[in-house]
Symmetry: C2
Subunit: 272 residues, 2 copies
């Protein structure tokens, strides 16, 4: 029985949410589908804070100094740059005795929460929009903690929401966050660029949706390295030149086209 160092009764955990943005909203929603109860919520934005607290049937605390000090987990769901300020204003007793975790993909655990004895990370790898319905069971949660108890407790908590929970250290999480920018932000901008090009030629951009869907399916079944096709991979310099010419009034898109084409060429024809 020695390996069971720590086995918290997860249903008895008291949770405080700090923040009222997209992540706070969706964590509240996700917990509401479980047997985990949120004990209270603090947010600087009173209107949103009250709305989320009402939705979660928990107390709203307008000032951080008022939040109860005897809860088990304090989830800081605020923007990256605001985390440090929240930590600075947390009562000392909480920082010494309780688990304090942020939900950021890019912020270091050590740097932002060095005053917290049981600092942790509770990062859901997903893009969130308030009000949008989501399937929480599939969202990967990246968990870290300064000590084993913290990691274990946060991991059990994440498992209440999701089937995909992993221990991820800070270095790994930073690379995951960078990958998320490529996969979400950059893919979305490429879709925007395409839509713009088509609209200028009076074409309904919805014509691209079946291709986009098949692109996602194909990389999943073949792997992206194998699934690659197109003028860059086959070193078709005529088509590449024609495309760059079509983009002559969009210098920012031309640079994107050039950078991606060169990178694909280097990947598949490293000698050239």
């Amino acid at each position: 029985m020695d390996q069971l160092i720590f086995e918290p009764n997860i249903n008895d955990l008291n949770i405080i949410i700090i923040g009222s943005g997209n992540i706070a909203y969706h964590l509240c929603k996700a917990f509401s589908k479980t047997d985990i109860n949120i004990d209270g919520l603090h947010a600087r934005n009173e209107k949103e804070g009250l709305r989320l607290a009402k939705m979660s049937k928990c107390a709203y605390y307008p000032h951080i100094s008022e939040i109860p000090e005897n809860c088990d987990i304090y989830l800081i769901c605020v923007s990256d740059d605001a985390i440090k300020n929240v930590v600075d204003h947390l009562p000392d007793h909480i920082k010494k005795q309780r688990i304090v975790a942020h939900t950021s993909g890019s912020k270091s655990m050590e740097e932002t929460m060095k005053t917290c004895n049981n600092a942790g990370v509770f990062y859901p790898l997903q893009t969130f929009t308030k009000g949008k319905r989501m399937t929480y069971r599939a969202i990967p949660f990246c968990i870290n903690g300064k000590n084993e108890d913290t990691r274990q407790t946060l991991s059990l908590l994440a498992n209440k929401i999701s089937e995909s929970v992993q221990f991820i250290d800070d270095e790994q999480r930073k690379n995951i966050h960078l990958s998320a920018v490529l996969i979400n932000n950059f893919v979305n901008h490429l879709i925007h660029a395409s839509e713009l090009l088509l609209k200028k030629k009076s074409i309904d951009p919805s014509i691209l949706q079946p291709l986009l869907l098949e692109t996602i399916k194909k990389q999943k079944s073949l792997g992206a390295l194998e699934a690659q096709t197109g003028p860059a991979r086959r070193m078709d310099s005529k088509t590449i030149a024609a495309h760059l010419d079509l983009l002559k009034n969009h210098p920012a898109f031309q640079k994107i086209y050039d950078a991606l084409t060169r990178s694909i060429q280097q990947t598949y024809n490293p000698k050239k």
Copy 2:
């Protein structure tokens, strides 16, 4: 009744397929699910040509000079650079009397088929892999033709396969093909880059799949312009610098990151 200038009995059309690559394969498959019969197939690659002809229960012609001259539509499904050579070797009677259409996204109709009186384009906007099962009804077909009869006939033929058939002129088609490169080739390469970054940190890249799926869903419901988030849009120079630093051993990815970040910044903060 005057508006019915031309109303071919589409079920009676005789079709010849030229080529045995991905598009030829999938057009054969797609026609096999309709009441359209393929009359014959020519391909330089005898093994693949015979295989496709057998699959389509039609005659295989090893030499282009042997294909029957009395068919209605000749679909040239070969790589861009091979189209002109096929047209050059087509019997004159076919070029004068029949509909000759290529399936390319980027090649001009006029330039590649100027010797054909009834030249046309029959471009399916999709990424094809031999052997992969596909839903043909949703694939957008871009149709063009030198004259109204050609456009009408090709459009009726495409409608046998797909619910999404549009008249698209050469200028529009070139922009659609460029957009397809952004949406398919470039998105796929960004996925590859992410997978590479994660594998180097011993993370299973499948962790990104739920985010990728949500990215596609979100742009569809909100529109890509509205759906954009991330460090570039919010001008978060600290995170951008940290990401460029993480990519310091990948100069080609750094250039992609830089070009996409600048383009997003210009889109949402045009003054800076």
